[in-house]
């Protein structure tokens, strides 16, 4: 019985070695070097390995946006990112936004009561910051007037904000208050 176990463990170890890699992620400004299962998504690295549970697992499938974080300045669904492919990346999560205190958008979410259960909130906040940068960089959205000159900052009205945040679901229905909060910080 014991020897059988040994064989299995040895085989498992060998298999594990083929299935793990060392990866360095710069998370909220701190370099983190980890040996990761190749199957591990960035979301699970954050939540399970780094205890950064602000990024939420809503669907694990890229359909709800609760896991949204910023990777190299762009918003991503961290559940769809294999961490092994992100070696050297800068990752910013909701825990890293405030620079000690609270980011103005976090404060605006509080002021506007832009959440209830709070589970989608970190994703909404990271997604909104990503969307604001995208608009600033001149990225159009589905509702942008095609006549708008490209490459220049896009103004973000309520319709634009709604469209650009539509990948972030909120089952509590805080949408109008979220848009209010985003408007507060872009004014």
């Amino acid at each position: 019985m014991g020897s059988r176990h040994h064989t299995r463990d040895d085989a498992a170890t060998a298999a594990a070695d083929r299935h793990h890699s060392q990866v360095t992620l710069h998370v909220n400004g701190t370099p983190r070097t980890l040996t990761l299962d190749h199957r591990r998504a960035l979301l699970d690295v954050l939540r399970e390995d780094l205890d950064l549970t602000g990024a939420k697992k809503g669907c694990d499938h890229g359909q709800c946006g609760a896991c949204t974080v910023l990777v190299d300045g762009r918003r991503v669904n961290s559940c769809l990112q294999l961490a092994v492919a992100l070696d050297g990346s800068e990752v910013v999560t909701v825990e890293g936004l405030g620079d000690g205190g609270m980011h103005p958008l976090q404060q605006a979410f509080l002021d506007r009561d832009a959440f209830q259960c709070g589970y989608c909130t970190p994703g909404q906040i990271c997604s909104a910051l990503g969307a604001i940068d995208e608009a600033r960089a001149g990225h159009p959205s589905h509702v942008t007037d095609p006549g708008t000159p490209s490459g220049r900052p896009m103004p973000l009205g309520r319709e634009e904000i709604r469209e650009r945040l539509s990948g972030n679901l909120c089952r509590c229905g805080a949408y109008p208050h979220i848009v209010d909060a985003v408007e507060d910080v872009i004014r």
Binding site: R8, A12, A15, A16, D37, R39, R40, D44, R47, E48, D51, T53, G54, A55, K56, K57, G58, C59, D60, H61, Q63, C64, A66, V94, E95, G98, M102, Q106, Q107, F109, L110, D113, F115, Q116, C117, G118, Y119, C120, T121, P122, I125, R158, I161, R162, E163, L165, S166, G167, N168, L169, C170, R171, C172, G173, A174, Y175, P176, H177, I178, V179
Partner: protein, 712 residues
């Protein structure tokens, strides 16, 4: 901001900020899967792949040989569970498969990836049987149960409804359909269980941990004192976390077997089949009225399904016992047990689907009479609950309708409809809302500390409603102290026992006990002279016998929804342009969190109207829509101008705070208001939800080809 009068203001009614808000926006609020415990393992469930039958064999050898796998639980080796009254929790106890998606195994492994991978290598051999999963109005197995959900009688009849319907000069006879709907809270159902000897600690995503503890005690043969269940932060529930769900049973079993903490976080794809759904309803409404619109007969008959495991009967005809005066009435529920997943509570069970049907039929009646639909509802207003004959403790439906009509500019709706341009048809609709006042006994304690602060303890659950905040406000007023002197503890079964966050009854039930404990403490403090002892003074309350005392009044919230839509005749898309609602729900204790709850309910109603639908797959036997890409909850782009208002309502027959529940009424009637607006826009009456482009386009095409097409 210094306000010299602050101490004299009441804390209730003020828009106090959420107490846990800062934690939620900074990502530090911990939910059920987020309690780091040394050695914690993860589990991944395996679901039955047949709709009915038996598990002949489970081959776990491949899974067990995979790296990191600690155990595979099946019906053959899982711990035996004790008796309790919810059959959906008796997981892995026998070989029976009552519906597709039923749990047949659980893989426990060091990591999530290992558990998931190994779950795919659990080989289950089934003896499948023929299944029957489709609800039809004339199903031979349909029967009238004794009770519908919530203890409501399945049937009520007054007078001679059939004869008076037949004799009525104006009649509506129509069938409305609501598909199965899923709660889909953003946080999947999750539990982390941890045994320490024969002490059990569970962090779970639940609307009430007192019931979870009681159930675990029965299942695992433990004294309740040996169990602690926490639900500090809960990522929504909407009814689907009202009572324990299988995740907490699986996690507790797995933790016992593995000898270490285990988290079970149900994958989103599994939720549709194992945490309950709103059962589909087929509702026949017959309204008979005289020429001035007064109802003479109201018949509301509901067909719905349930599973083989439990009799859950969506009480959709119940609101017709409350809404409008009618001398003759029958309200009836029939249920058909099928090989389907078990239905359960979803926000405003009964009222949400039932008021879609009733309020759509009222719109049809207004049309048939040529009456304004707002006025028709006011004509049928009643001071007594038709079914019970009791007077309403307060009923301001007419005021909600009038105030909403004014704010919405209801009078201008015809002008706005005529201004339709291009492919867009514009229309407006109205519907009423109602929800019963429910309240349950609760306990609470209040503690005065020598430093002048207070600690209030109660096992309430804040699922995002703002319960912590509102209960602190109630306490501050009863203690006559500023809000910031009150600390409140909720979400832990070691606290004084309290009922669940459900039935829009949380604030009333918990608030009553908090109010009573704080009032007693105030009396004790008044009788006390000199400095407080080092451990302070405390007081407890138990509202058994008072909160649940029979009332001579019928107690309900009411409201009115107004919707404006634009229907695209080329794409078939319906867009809500405006949604405005006015509610009469007693005293509003926190206008900030109340507004969010109302708007949230209205948004879910918008989803029910336009996007949310699930389908029982006839071949496979479970739901075809199992993820958020196929089950469409509303997104930002679906929700434009949405406004919730309320009228001041003073009702002395409720509870010490004068509040009614507000968590559910927002979803009640919303879909009817939107559907009625679509009718106003298109002239076509739709009687099946949701109003998706395929249905709109098909109906518009049929109308174009009809011999005498008429536009409204």
């Amino acid at each position: 901001m210094a306000d010299p009068l602050a101490a004299h203001h009441t804390a209730t009614g003020a828009p106090a900020e959420r107490r846990e808000g800062r934690q939620k926006v900074t990502g530090t609020a911990r939910y059920a899967a987020e309690h780091p415990l040394p050695g914690r393992a993860h589990a991944w469930p395996v679901q039955a792949a047949v709709a009915r039958g038996r598990v002949r064999a489970v081959d776990t050898s491949d899974a067990l040989s995979m790296p990191g796998v600690l155990a595979v639980l099946t019906h053959e080796n899982a711990p035996r569970l004790g008796e309790q009254d919810d059959a959906t929790l008796a997981v892995l106890q026998d070989d029976r498969v009552p519906h597709r998606g039923w749990f047949v195994a659980l893989v426990v492994a060091e990591t999530l990836e290992q558990a998931r991978d190994a779950a795919a290598e659990v080989h289950v051999d089934y003896a499948a049987e023929d299944h029957d999963v489709l609800l039809t109005a004339d199903h031979p197995a349909a029967y009238v149960p004794e009770e519908a959900n919530g203890g409501n009688p399945a049937t009520r009849e007054r007078g001679t409804p059939d004869a008076d319907f037949a004799a009525a000069p104006v009649r509506i006879d129509a069938v409305y359909r609501v598909p199965p709907l899923h709660n889909h809270p953003m946080e999947p159902h999750t539990s982390t269980a941890h045994w320490d000897g024969d002490r059990l600690t569970v962090h779970t995503s639940s609307q009430g941990t007192t019931a979870v503890r009681r159930t675990l005690a029965a299942l695992f043969g433990l004294d309740e004192e040996r169990i602690t269940v926490t639900a500090e932060h809960v990522g929504g529930g909407f009814g689907s976390k009202g009572t324990p769900r299988p995740d907490v049973v699986l996690a507790t079993m797995a933790a016992r077997r593995a000898g270490r903490p285990v988290t079970v976080s149900l994958p989103r794809r599994q939720l549709a089949t194992v945490v309950g759904h709103r059962a589909p309803t087929v509702q026949r409404l017959r309204l008979g009225a005289d020429r001035d619109g007064r109802l003479t007969s109201l018949i509301h008959e509901v067909d719905t399904h349930t599973s083989r495991l439990k009799e859950f009967v969506e009480q959709a005809a119940v609101p017709s016992r409350v809404m409008y005066g009618s001398p003759h009435s029958r309200t009836l529920h029939r249920v058909t047990p099928l090989d389907v997943p078990s239905p359960s509570w979803m926000r405003a069970p009964g009222e949400a689907p039932g008021m879609y049907a009733l309020e759509s039929a009222m719109d049809e009646l207004a049309d048939a009479l040529g009456t304004d639909p707002v006025e028709l509802r006011i004509v049928n207003d009643t001071a007594h609950e038709p079914d019970s004959g009791k007077p309403f403790s307060s009923r301001h439906l007419a005021e909600c309708l009038r105030e909403g009509a004014r704010r919405f500019d209801w009078a201008g709706r015809a002008v706005r409809a005529r201004a339709s341009t291009g492919n867009l048809l514009v229309g407006s609709g109205v519907a009423s809302a109602t929800y019963p006042v429910m309240v349950s006994p609760s306990t609470a304690s209040a503690h005065a500390l020598p430093d002048g602060s207070f600690a209030v303890r109660i096992n309430a659950t804040d699922i995002g409603t703002g319960a912590r905040t509102v209960l602190a406000q109630v306490a501050a007023d009863a203690l006559g102290t500023p809000l910031d002197r009150v600390r409140i503890e909720v979400g832990n079964s070691d606290l004084p026992t309290a009922p669940l966050a459900g039935g829009s009854s949380g604030t009333a039930s918990w608030g009553w006990a908090v109010h009573e404990a704080c009032t007693r403490l105030t009396e004790r403090l008044a009788a006390h002279s000199g400095p407080l002892p080092a451990d302070g003074l405390d007081a407890r309350a138990d509202t058994t016998g008072t909160a649940d005392a029979d009332s001579p009044y019928a107690r309900h919230s009411f409201g009115a929804h107004f919707a404006e839509v634009a229907v695209d005749t080329v794409t078939g898309e319906v867009r809500v342009r405006r949604l405005l609602s006015v509610f009469a729900a007693g005293r509003i204790l926190n206008e900030r969190t109340a507004r969010s709850q109302f708007i949230g309910g209205m948004t879910m109603g918008l989803g029910m109207a336009l996007t949310e639908s699930s389908t029982v797959d006839a071949s496979f036997g479970d739901f075809a829509e199992r993820d958020l890409a196929s089950y469409h909850v509303p997104v930002h782009a679906d929700v434009p101008a949405i406004e919730a208002h309320w009228i001041d309502e003073h009702d002395p027959h409720l509870n010490p705070m004068g509040s009614k529940g507000i968590g559910e009424i927002g979803i009640v009637g919303t879909a009817a208001a939107i559907g009625n607006a679509v009718h106003h826009a298109t002239g076509v009456r739709f009687r099946e939800l949701p109003l998706t482009p395929d249905r709109i386009l098909t109906a518009l095409r049929e109308r174009r080809h009809a011999p005498h097409a008429a536009m409204t």
